[in-house]
């Protein structure tokens, strides 16, 4: 018996890991023409791990104050050994993570994988996406550059439009009337403590639910398999699927490194709260659709404030999206097609409006 086996035996005798891990060994993944979509969840998880790793490294040198934040990021980029790489990896993986999370969510929605008994898996996933967007919004301000400062100003102003509690939310987010050092401190706390704690908790729940209910098979494939049981194909999660997943992670890492080296993340100029907002200020791409919608809405719709209606619409849309599994049940089997069309509409709308927002001046 070699040293590694002896250590494993020693641990097993005490923790009985073999038994604890047995469900994972028994776990299988369905194999069919849509199987490649299953990798998106794992890819999002990998990018989240990259975020955690690079984020902790950035924390070693970052100073969360309006007077020092920009200079500390400059120091990370220019002087700290491989600081430029870590910062660029953090920024690029954040964006790729948001993209993968969206792609994963829409693949799940279009495959109707939220069906009973996976409603809670869907809800935990959507909450995770909201948390990821929260990471993006709070992290964007941390370098304290001009673009981030004014984009945060616009973003928190939008939150301030919510009826009744809007102003209180805005002041709570900003730590005062305007975006200032107090906002930076709050966003920093949110970004490195509150959101990671919530996200890790929610991620564990999501993974446990995935483990409990197994991997969903699209309705069309399920039907085919029911008609021809001999076509049913599965592979073991460990090691077959996991190793394939690992290949995806390594490729993602290679893409990240190439992006970081060829397109280092720009730092811009230090935020000056007393200077006028630069023209054409826009939020990050994943908020562009909402931003562009609010821009295009008329000032008044049926005597009501257009922007307010837009914000209420997004709130309602988010709530409906969260409750998608129940909407399908409520709609009944005959109207499932309309639910699918609705999902497609949301996808096309968000993608289209993001493109319009990107090219708009």
């Amino acid at each position: 018996m070699n040293a590694a086996s002896r250590v494993q035996t020693w641990i097993d005798e005490r923790l009985n890991l073999d038994e604890a891990l047995s469900p994972l060994r028994e776990k299988t993944v369905p194999v069919h023409r849509y199987s490649s979509w299953y990798f998106l969840g794992g890819l999002t998880l990998f990018l989240f791990l990259v975020q955690l790793f690079t984020g902790v490294l950035l924390l070693l040198y970052y100073h969360a104050s309006a007077g020092e934040a920009f200079e500390s990021v400059q120091n990370i980029t220019n002087r700290v050994q491989f600081g430029w790489l870590i910062r660029s990896l953090h920024s690029w993986s954040a964006n790729l993570m948001v993209f993968c999370a969206f792609a994963h969510m829409f693949s799940v929605a279009l495959a109707r994988a939220y069906r009973k008994p996976r409603e809670l898996t869907w809800i935990s996933g959507v909450i995770l996406l909201f948390l990821v967007l929260g990471f993006g919004f709070s992290g964007y301000l941390l370098p304290w550059n001009t673009r981030a400062y004014f984009a945060t100003k616009v973003g928190t102003e939008v939150a301030g439009q919510v009826p009744v509690v809007g102003r209180a939310i805005m002041i709570f987010m900003r730590g005062g009337e305007d975006v200032s050092g107090a906002t930076l401190t709050r966003f920093f706390g949110l970004h490195v403590a509150v959101l990671p704690a919530l996200a890790i908790g929610m991620l564990i729940s999501h993974l446990l639910l995935v483990q409990k209910f197994g991997t969903s098979v699209p309705v069309s494939v399920e039907k085919e398999w029911d008609e021809n049981p001999e076509r049913r194909k599965e592979m073991r999660f460990f090691p077959n699927f996991f190793l394939r997943e690992l290949i995806g992670w390594y490729i993602a890492l290679a893409v990240l490194v190439v992006l970081a080296v060829f397109f280092p993340w720009e730092l811009g100029t230090k935020a000056d709260p007393f200077s006028p907002a630069p023209p054409g200020i826009k939020p990050e791409w994943y908020f562009l659709a909402q931003f562009q919608t609010l821009k295009l809405l008329p000032a008044h719709i049926l005597h009501l404030d257009g922007e307010l209606l837009g914000i209420l619409g997004f709130g309602l849309g988010g709530a409906l999206w969260l409750g998608l599994p129940f909407i399908e049940v409520f709609a009944g089997a005959r109207r499932v097609r309309w639910v699918k069309i609705g999902i497609l509409f949301v996808l096309i709308y968000l993608a289209g409006m993001s493109v319009v927002g990107y090219v708009a001046r």
């Binding site: 400059q74 690992l246 390594y250 490729i251 290679a254 730092l267």
Partner: protein, 403 residues
């Protein structure tokens, strides 16, 4: 009933605020026709004044509008305008009831101006208050619609000073406005909206307008161009050029001077007096060449920094160095007024040093970018090897599994 009363109150008040002057003048023709109370829109109207403040009479009772004892003055002759305006504007105790910080020396300054002196001699053509400020609808000078707002002053002055026939009678040139319109000062004011840029009144004064004499031109320019004037006063040119700044730069048509303004090339100011045959001429050419050298180095460093920035490299420190080099170049250009190569070079040398540092930083950034791209091959090869190995391992694993 109460509602009717409430609605009637504004109507009654409006009726009581009626202006009999306008009511009557609306029916008249020609110059006397006035259909609205023009004063109301101006600064005087806002302070509660009306027609009767200047013209006297009774504005509330049409029948007694010009009645004896009402102080009715009717038409105010040009010869009376300045004294009439001054009756309030030179009265400190009255003016401070409106605004304690208002000046009250306009009338006394006017008397010292060429306009005022000519007026005192009975000249009816020179400017009086209303020619510049307007008649009934006088606006504060801070209002962009006012003819005396900084943006409009030159246009107001040129109404008379571009009239060649009128100016001939005073033996004055009439091209000042045209010349000023082509100047760097006008560009700053009109194109960039820089209200601190000089207009006619900045150099000539407003109420006490007078052409600056030859000896005081430099003083006028020095109010803004402090260092240039100081260096000029320390130079050998101070004694040689009694007209000071205007000798090289002109007066109204002041162009933006570039480095070719110095030296011996065609169009250079120095070449007007110096040539390559004299020591000063060679100094002027050397100053030009040295300025050009730093300018070239700054442009070169800026181009490299731009390339590095576009490549995604952070070159903030180098940009700061480049800004310092540009600042040195600006300071050296100001030092040209000393006419001393040594003093210009002292500033240029500092600029050359930091420009070289900026260039070196930019080159380092570009080298670093290239190094990073080259070194990328190592992790990419390692990752590719892992991916290929994993692929092979999976194939092997599944083949064994099938067997």
């Amino acid at each position: 009933m109460l509602a009717c009363l409430v609605l009637l109150v504004p109507c009654v008040l409006a009726e009581s605020a009626k202006n009999a002057c306008v009511d009557c003048h609306a029916k008249l023709e020609g110059r006397l026709k006035i259909v609205v109370d023009e004063t109301a829109a101006g600064v005087h109207g806002h302070k509660g004044m009306s027609c009767t403040t200047c013209h006297g009479g009774n504005a509330e009772d049409e029948a007694r509008a010009k009645a004896p004892g009402s102080g009715f003055r009717g038409h105010i002759a040009r010869s009376q305008v300045t004294e009439l305006c001054g009756s309030c504007h030179a009265d400190g105790s009255r003016m401070k009831t409106f605004n304690p910080s208002l000046r009250t020396d306009q009338l006394s300054l006017y008397h010292t101006s060429v306009h005022g002196m000519k007026r005192a001699q009975g000249d009816e053509h020179v400017a009086v208050c209303t020619d510049c400020h307007g008649v009934h609808d006088v606006l504060p000078a801070s209002d962009t619609r006012s003819p005396v707002h900084p943006l409009n002053v030159a246009n107001t002055c040129q109404r008379c000073h571009s009239d060649s026939e009128l100016m001939k009678t005073y033996k004055l040139a009439s091209a000042q406005f045209k010349d000023y319109s082509e100047s760097v000062h006008h560009e700053a004011m009109a194109a960039r909206g820089d209200l601190s840029a000089p207009t006619c009144s900045t150099c000539h004064g407003s109420h006490g307008a007078i052409p600056p004499g030859a000896g005081s031109v430099a003083n006028v320019c020095a109010t803004c161009h402090v260092l240039q004037a100081q260096f000029f006063n320390e130079s050998v040119h101070k004694e040689a050029f009694p007209e000071g700044c205007a000798t090289c730069h002109g007066s109204h048509k002041i162009k933006h001077p570039d480095d070719d303004f110095v030296g011996l090339a065609k169009g250079a100011a120095c070449a007007e007096c110096h040539s390559a045959d004299d020591e000063s001429g060679r100094t002027a050419q050397a100053i030009h060449d040295h300025l050009r050298r730093l300018e070239g180095q700054v442009a070169d460093a800026a181009q490299l920094l731009d390339r590095a920035t576009r490549a995604g490299m952070d070159v903030a420190d180098a940009e700061l160095q480049l800004a310092q080099a540009k600042e040195s170049l600006t300071k050296a250009r100001v030092r040209v007024h000393t006419a001393s190569l040594a003093r210009v070079d002292a500033e240029l040398d500092a600029g050359i040093t930091v420009a070289a540092k900026a260039r070196s930083s930019a080159e380092e950034a570009l080298h670093e970018r290239t190094r990073r791209r080259k070194e990328l091959i190592v992790p990419l090869t390692a990752l590719l090897a892992v991916v290929v190995s994993l692929g092979a391992y999976i194939r092997e694993l599944e083949r064994n599994g099938r067997e």
